[in-house]
């Protein structure tokens, strides 16, 4: 039987004297039985190796322990090959060694294979260590069997530490659990899986890995773990998120913007638009998106405007920016004016790829322009009216004056009163408040009367706040002017001691204003011979006409008394 063994065999007695070699032995060594018998085998040993072989063989012979050793043996061709030599003792019933059985198995090929394997493993390790991706092999329990430098760098462990630990030692509990779940799934289903995983943290947040895990199988095809590669995509992921966030942020900003910003295809189909203008028109995005821009609700009321939008789109397509103001319809059919523009959008090569319609509401600007226009017309009208009044004054003054100085004096006084009235109204007219322009009764009284006073205590005023409008102010100032002129010529204001008391109050029903003018401490009053002079007529007509009231004069000897009644609502006109 032993002759058939592929190994070299031999048998020795208890002392180590070899009395048998098998056929393979002689074939390998090329020696004869006579040369080999006993201790003759030393002849085929490499001399340098022999002493340690002898030493160990003798030790086994002495102790009876099995012999195992690797050493070279010279073949018939003179080449030394490495053999693994084993010798086991055969004992009798008393346990005494009576014989040794030995085998020599050539391992030169085996060792070379191992060396080659070791070498290729080293190369492989070097390669995978150079790879920036994480490469790892895990066993069924999820422990690392193999890991490249990138893995160790990420978990901050040496290989010696890493093989003793597990995911739970390197990652958060949740991360480790998620990783373990994937690992189990790959192992159980035996299928490759690609998945994004979170593993570890940096100063900004968790790192994201794109991992590919495949089952690791032995030669028989049994799954014994998994092989994985992971790429760190944290930065890419963050860049994506930032971009998405940036886009979302921009969109939110645009959506809040009442201004309109859109994007059209070259065919004029609106493909993007911010929210606010769509909402302002009471629309939903789908009402305008995906449709020709000129068909949108905003201008669907006007074929002309639709035509203009269409023409503008055509022009923009050829590279021209078109801009104009148009009224657009918003919610409830309300109209607002917008400053509208369509501009071409070019790509990096300069080719026009889209059109960008945009608009801002300029209602406020339009309103201000209209208000300004109104104001200008109003001023123009007032100037014409003032000239008409001035001409009337000249005519009237000329009719009553007996000489030129008298004419001049009368005219100057009245024109001054007119100028004062205008001056009081002017601030309101030129203010931006849009107020039609108004002053108050107390201001008007003080302005007209002051030039006629010797001292401020000659005038006593009392009355509530009454607003005087631009129409009423001329009549009222002319009435007050006539009264003041008369007082300074013939009445209380012609002396230093005289005084004028002006009191006003509104009637109980709130329709009328009653103003009383009372002069005191003036010279005795003479009832005029010529009744109803020009001044009186003017006052009466003013009071009755424009002010819708009445003027009554009491010629008391102690001082003239005048009661002016006017409609309150006329005063504010």
């Amino acid at each position: 039987m032993v002759e058939r063994l592929p190994v070299l065999c031999w048998m020795a007695d208890a002392d180590g004297y070899i009395f048998y070699y098998n056929k393979k032995w002689y074939e390998y060594t090329g020696a004869t039985p006579a040369e080999m018998e006993g201790w003759g085998w030393q002849a085929i040993h490499v001399p340098a190796e022999l002493p340690r072989v002898m030493e160990q063989w003798r030790r086994s012979l002495a102790s009876g322990e099995p012999f195992e050793m690797t050493f070279p043996l010279l073949g018939a061709d003179g080449v030394a090959r490495l053999f693994l030599t084993r010798a086991v003792p055969h004992r009798n019933a008393d346990g005494k060694v009576i014989r040794w059985f030995g085998t020599n198995t050539e391992i030169t090929d085996l060792q070379a294979a191992e060396a080659r394997a070791r070498e290729s493993a080293n190369i492989l390790q070097s390669v995978i260590d150079e790879v920036p991706a994480l490469v790892f092999v895990k066993d069924m329990d999820g422990r690392l069997i193999k890991a490249n430098a990138a893995v160790l760098a990420m978990i901050g462990r040496t290989w010696a530490q890493a093989r003793e630990e597990s995911d739970a030692d390197w990652f958060s509990e949740a991360q480790a659990r998620a990783i373990r779940e994937t690992d189990r799934r790959v192992i159980e289903l035996g299928e490759t899986e690609e998945i994004e995983e979170q593993a570890g943290f940096d100063e900004i947040g968790p790192r994201v890995l794109l991992s590919r895990k495949s089952p690791f199988k032995d030669e028989s095809g049994n799954v014994i773990g998994l092989i994985g590669t992971s790429i760190d995509i944290t930065d890419r992921k963050r860049a994506e998120m930032l971009r998405a966030e940036g886009e979302a942020h921009l969109r939110r900003v645009l959506d809040q913007l009442f201004a309109f910003v859109g994007l059209m295809t070259l065919d004029g189909v609106l493909i993007e638009a911010n929210q606010a203008p769509i909402k302002a028109a009471g629309l939903k995005p789908e009402d305008v998106l995906g449709k020709p821009f000129w068909d949108a609700y905003w201008w669907s009321y006007s074929p002309q405007i639709q035509r203009r939008i269409r023409d503008a789109s055509d022009a923009a397509r050829t590279g021209t920016v078109v801009r104009f103001d148009i009224p657009v319809r918003i919610v409830d059919g309300e109209m607002v004016t917008i400053d509208f523009q369509i501009a071409p959008l070019r790509n990096a090569e300069g080719r026009i790829t889209h059109l960008v319609p945009s608009a801002v509401v300029i209602e406020e600007r339009v309103r201000l322009e209209q208000a300004r226009g109104l104001l200008i017309r109003e001023l123009h009208h007032r100037v014409k009216n003032l000239f008409a009044i001035a001409i009337g004054m000249v005519n009237m003054s000329a009719r009553i004056a007996t000489n030129v100085p008298e004419l001049a004096q009368g005219l100057i006084g009245r024109l001054n009163a007119l100028a004062t009235a205008h001056e009081l109204i002017r601030p309101a007219l030129v203010s931006d408040s849009g107020d039609p322009g108004a002053t108050t009764l107390d201001k008007l009284v003080a302005s007209i009367l002051t030039p006629h006073l010797h001292s401020s205590d000659q005038l006593v005023c009392a009355g509530p706040f009454i607003s005087i409008g631009p129409s009423a102010v001329t009549s009222l100032s002319l009435i007050l002017h006539e009264l003041a002129t008369n007082a300074s010529k013939y009445g209380a204001l012609s002396t230093i001691e005289g005084a004028v008391q002006i009191v006003w109050e509104s009637s109980k029903d709130g329709r009328l204003l009653v103003l009383t003018w009372r002069e005191r401490n003036g010279p005795p009053v003479l009832v005029p011979v010529r009744k109803k002079g020009f001044g009186s007529q003017l006052m009466e007509i003013s009071a009755k006409g424009q002010l819708g009231g009445d003027l009554r004069v009491d010629w008391n000897e102690s001082g003239i008394g005048v009661t002016l009644t006017t409609l309150l609502d006329r005063l504010s006109r």
């Binding site: 123009h380 009208h381 007032r382 014409k384 009216n385 000239f387 008409a388 009044i389 001035a390 001409i391 009337g392 004054m393 005519n395 009237m396 009719r399 009245r414 129409s471 001329t474 009549s475 002319l478 020009f534 007529q537 003017l538 007509i541 003013s542 009755k544 006409g545 424009q546 819708g548 006329r570 006109r573």
Partner: protein, 121 residues
């Protein structure tokens, strides 16, 4: 002549000037009225009214109704205004002559006298 001429003008001094200008031309003044309602009241109370010098914007509205009334009476009319006739009033009275303020009272009175002369022929 003795034509009865209505003067409607809310600015007292202009009203007085016009009134006297009418009298200077030999007319008999009606008014002056400062409001639409005053003018209508004067017209309904007057035995005759042959012509009128009218302001347009008055405290209680525009002159439209007064113009309507005067047209029914075949009165000659000149309008004296800083603006113009309101469009709807203009539509009803396409031939009314409008003088821009300021126009001299004498010019207005003469223009009206001329119209009355033409109507009399």
């Amino acid at each position: 002549m003795g034509h009865h001429i209505l003067v409607v003008e809310d600015e007292a001094i202009i009203a007085m000037d016009l009134f006297l200008a009418v009298e200077d031309c030999g007319g008999v003044g009606l008014g002056p009225a400062a409001t639409v309602s005053e003018a209508l009241a004067l017209l309904s109370g007057a035995a005759s009214c042959d012509g009128a010098i009218l302001d347009v914007n008055l405290p209680d509205g525009d002159i439209g109704r007064v113009l309507d009334e005067l047209e029914m009476r075949n009165a000659a009319v000149v309008v004296h205004t800083g603006f113009a006739l309101p469009p709807e009033v203009r539509l009803r009275h396409p031939h009314v002559e409008v003088f821009q303020k300021p126009t001299l009272s004498r010019v207005l009175a003469n223009a009206l006298a001329k119209k009355l002369d033409e109507a009399a022929r």
